[in-house]
């Protein structure tokens, strides 16, 4: 890379905040996905002024610029696909303000998700979005990806909890978007920025809503002998209008992998479990739990266990949230999909995924946000084997196509990034993609910020010859 740029970055940030040797960059080639891309250098700003300086240098040297939090993302969003400067926000990790009275907090983007909840727990509050990686992932990353999590079923995803951002546009302007007060007048730029996968602006401050912790919580583990019974239970819980705080499903294979790792007390001999949580006022929770349990029993649950105390509940959640890690012990690589379907289509979709696994000869585990219809099929494979990798992608594409055919979407919470960009034409027409590209260009005119993400590149676009779908819900001709 340009030694003058390196020099300028070191003058700006100090030598300790700039990595550029190949062995130093190795770690930053990866995120939580299977993608790989090496930046030319990695920098660690500590202040908004640092970030402004970095953006100005990127413009001066016309070099790509990519933001990154903890690198736990699952779609390659925080990888430097075209090289350039990877800006890692891990040192901008201060909680700037906690306003208990108004239930707001303002944080730097590198604050770890669960650290914020821990910091406000004394006041009976928490930051509701809870991705499984919450002990590592940053709130800046959550905002960029509009992250979900198990409890978003009742509490909403990240975008529902973000009130304001301080951002630096790729052109070098510092702006505040949104406000701690609700309903800022004008277009909802905040709604556009949250989930824009780091392609529109770099985030330097975030103001979020804090949510009151529920007075009472009950966690249930419903154990099923067949996958169909478990999925039918989810369908009925949804259609009855029971909204649990969380409704997660683990299939038997995944359960056994998790149990071997975490020892959460999951049964080893069943086809699936549902991990269900209800919360709210004491007076509501018992009945709510009983309603949920009754649906489970009506669908032949072998057993419905209720966690006796916080310790037992935490153990069940530990099992759920560390599932990807548990699977990682079994296979050199796994590929996680993130398709979403209408909840009514869960039984058919799970059967189809299982058939695809058989067809391609892969073990596919399922551990997912059943209550949201957000699937996470995990395909185990060996990435060193090119032929196998190609078959994984083919199997995965079949799953995604089925989700789309069911009226669903290609990603519920992981983002498009560089992993699913080539799938975008399955959902959006070229004209629609063009509008989104023009929106990107309005913020990011030179294309320096996080290039080649979300939108299919000319090459990948040509690989897919399909008609885009009409808006979901349109009558099928």
């Amino acid at each position: 890379m340009d030694s003058r740029l390196l020099h300028d970055l070191k003058s700006l940030l100090g030598a300790a905040a700039v990595l550029h040797r190949p062995e130093e960059l190795l770690l930053y080639e990866y995120d939580g996905s299977v993608e790989v891309a090496r930046p030319q250098c990695v920098v660690f700003p500590r202040t908004t002024a640092d970030v402004l300086g970095i953006v100005k240098l990127a413009n001066q040297y016309q070099i790509p610029l990519v933001g990154r939090g903890a690198g736990t993302g699952l779609s390659g969003g925080a990888l430097a696909r075209k090289g350039g400067i990877l800006t890692v926000f891990s040192r901008m990790n201060r909680i700037l303000e906690i306003d208990i009275e108004n239930q707001r907090a303002t944080v730097q983007p590198g604050v770890i998700n669960s650290d914020l909840s821990a910091a406000v727990a004394h006041a009976g509050l928490h930051f509701a979005p809870d991705p499984s990686s919450q002990k590592a992932c940053t709130i800046g990353g959550n905002v960029a990806e509009n992250s979900g999590g198990p409890h978003t079923l009742a509490y909403g995803v990240t975008t529902n909890h973000v009130l304001a951002l301080e951002v630096i546009l790729p052109t070098g302007e510092l702006l505040r978007i949104g406000s701690a007060a609700l309903d800022p007048p004008g277009y909802d730029l905040l709604g556009l920025l949250v989930g824009s996968e780091g392609t529109l602006a770099l985030i330097t401050e975030i103001t979020v809503k804090l949510t009151r912790l529920p007075e009472a919580v009950k966690t249930l583990l419903a154990i099923f002998e067949t996958l169909d019974d478990a999925t039918e239970t989810v369908v009925e819980i949804t259609s009855r209008g029971i909204t649990p705080a969380a409704c997660e499903m683990l299939d038997g294979w995944t359960l056994r992998a998790v149990e071997a790792y975490i020892h959460a007390g999951f049964p080893l001999d069943c086809a699936a479990v549902l991990l269900l949580e209800v919360d709210g006022l004491r007076e509501a929770v018992d009945q709510h739990a009983e309603d949920v349990a009754a649906v489970c029993r009506a669908h032949h649950a072998r057993e419905v266990r209720v966690a006796r105390d916080a310790q037992e509940r935490d153990l069940l959640w530990k099992g759920r949230k560390n599932a990807f890690g548990a699977v990682g012990r079994l296979s050199p690589t796994y590929y996680v999909q993130d398709g979403v379907i209408p909840r009514t289509k869960l039984p058919a979709t799970l059967r189809h995924i299982s058939a695809i696994g058989e067809k391609y000869g892969f073990q596919i585990g399922n551990i997912f946000h059943a209550g949201d219809g957000n699937l996470h099929p995990l395909i185990l494979f060996d990435a060193r084997d090119d032929a196998q990798f190609r078959r994984v992608i083919a199997a995965s594409d079949e799953i995604i196509q089925f989700c789309i055919d069911m009226g669903g979407s290609i990603t519920g919470e992981h983002g498009v990034g560089m992993e699913k960009d080539r799938l975008m034409p399955l959902l959006f027409s070229e004209l629609e993609l063009d509008i989104m590209r023009r929106v990107r260009d309005a913020f990011n005119p030179a294309g320096l910020l996080n290039p080649d993400k979300i939108f299919p590149t000319a090459k990948s676009c040509g690989e897919i010859h399909v008609q885009p779908l009409p808006l979901a819900g349109a009558p099928v001709a």
Binding site: E101, N160, S179, T238, R240, E283, L471
Partner: protein, 461 residues
């Protein structure tokens, strides 16, 4: 303008049929926006027709204001140009409703009232208890960005709008989002369309998450001699474990307002006694749950009301309907009660509501202006100034109030806008509040979606 109407009408008739092109001046009167009358009104029958009309307008450089029931077209600055009214009320189909998945796809012209009936057959609803409920279309409601009392619990449309289809200023039909409850595929362009007054695109279809209707609900009211303790009760409730569905604070003037003819027009049932007081401030809250939950709410609310210094309180049961209707219809009732009603929407951090309200009250008092207040628990205050006359002298007095509110709001990092006021007062009242730092970015987006500036031009700035 009428000559333009005559010349464009035949070509518009080719798109929608002659019976759906209105050029008769008398009928066009009802499409006026801020006193401007369009050359023609076109009743589109499909999204494809909308796209055709926009393409035609774009070629002819005709400005379009899209509309539904036309209940909220007064929001925003007067359109700079207004050639065509694009009436979407014929787009009135429920395209897909999957009660089992709690998702819904509807065309923009569906009336909220009719939709509520469809959903209630499955004991579901959309938490949009919006003003003008019986007339308003879903597209108009979303485009105008008007909120509802239910936001206390359910949030606003941006929290449950899953996706939408819209037509850009170039006549491109596009979509954003989808019809699943969780989705991060592509930019959330649909959020941009909420409250954009049709300036970025004409909404033709909307996808929503629906919600199960609570089985049992109740209301609770507490009365206070001044505003401050009412806000104190609001703070106590939000600090507690209770999660009410609605929470509003009303000024004493509202009791009188809710008895007037406009109020009776929105609901013929008389207001139940004991809900509002003509001499005191009232906090009104609604909640739902099983019997034990309802009892818990009643006990806790009564205790907190006493601690806050309430002079009286009551749990309201099944006779609530008229009270709820009027609360929802506060804005139309206020608008109908004065020849020059000016309604400010003030947004501040919830704990600062009492403070900003005191400023607004003081400014109105000094200028001898009658007013009525509805404050939502989440930090939104509707401050209605209700002068008896619409003249220059009154405008000056109201202008003084606007200046005081805008300045105080800016000091508190809040927002103040004037969604409703006499057309000729809009500029002097600075209806969008002080200039905004993101104005340039908004302008760039406008360029992307509507490069020729033909969709609702000039309504923001």
């Amino acid at each position: 303008m009428s000559s333009a109407g005559t010349s464009v009408s035949p070509r518009l008739a080719d798109i929608v049929g002659a019976e759906h092109v209105i050029s008769d001046p008398a009928r066009l009167a009802s499409y006026e926006v801020d006193g401007k009358r369009p050359a023609a009104a076109i009743q589109a029958g499909s999204a494809a027709e909308v796209a055709e009309i926009v393409k035609f307008a774009s070629a002819e450089k005709l400005a379009i204001v899209p509309c539904g029931a036309r209940t909220k077209l007064g929001i925003g600055l007067p359109p700079l140009r207004y050639d065509l009214a694009l009436d979407l009320t014929r787009l009135d189909r429920v395209v897909a409703y999957d009660p089992g998945d709690l998702t819904l796809s509807v065309e923009a012209g569906v009336r909220l009232g009719a939709l509520a009936q469809t959903l209630s057959a499955h004991r579901q609803f959309l938490p949009l208890a919006a003003p003008f409920l019986n007339q308003t279309t879903i597209g108009g409601l979303i485009a105008s960005g008007v909120d509802s009392p239910l936001r206390q619990f359910y949030g606003t449309a941006r929290d449950f709008l899953l996706g939408l289809e819209f037509v850009t200023g170039e006549g491109i039909t596009a979509k954003s989002g989808g019809r699943v409850v969780k989705n991060v595929t592509g930019y959330d362009l649909h959020k941009l369309m909420i409250g954009a007054l049709g300036a970025l695109g004409i909404i033709t279809r909307l996808n929503f998450k629906t919600f199960p209707m609570p089985l049992h609900s109740r209301g609770f009211v507490a009365r206070f001699p001044t505003a401050a303790p009412a806000f104190d009760l609001r703070n106590r409730i939000t600090r507690s474990a209770l999660t009410p569905l609605t929470l509003e604070i009303f000024s004493p003037h509202v009791a009188e307002l809710f008895k007037n003819k406009a109020a009776a027009d929105c609901d013929p049932e008389p207001m139940p006694a004991g809900v509002l007081s003509a001499t005191e401030w009232t906090l009104s809250t609604g909640y739902a749950g099983n019997d034990q939950v309802l009892e818990r709410f009643a006990v806790d609310l009564q205790r907190m009301a006493e601690e806050a210094g309430a002079t009286g309180s009551a749990v309201l049961g099944d006779n609530l309907q008229p009270a709820w209707t009027r609360k929802r219809e506060f804005i139309p009732i206020a608008l109908a009660s004065s020849p020059a009603a000016v309604i400010f929407k003030i947004s501040v951090l919830p704990a600062r509501m009492a403070e900003i309200l005191a400023v607004a009250q003081q400014a109105a008092e000094v200028n001898a202006l009658p007013r009525a207040v509805m404050a939502r628990g989440v930090g939104i205050i509707y401050f209605a100034v209700l002068p008896a006359e619409r003249n220059e002298e009154t405008r000056q007095r109201v202008s003084y109030v606007a200046g005081a509110i805008h300045a105080a709001c800016a000091n508190l990092q809040g927002h103040s806008t004037v969604p409703w006021c006499p057309s000729e007062w809009k500029t002097s009242l600075q209806i969008w509040g002080p200039p905004r730092p993101d104005a340039a970015l908004m302008q760039k987006l406008k360029q992307v979606f509507d490069p020729l500036n033909i969709l609702s031009p000039g309504r923001f700035a």
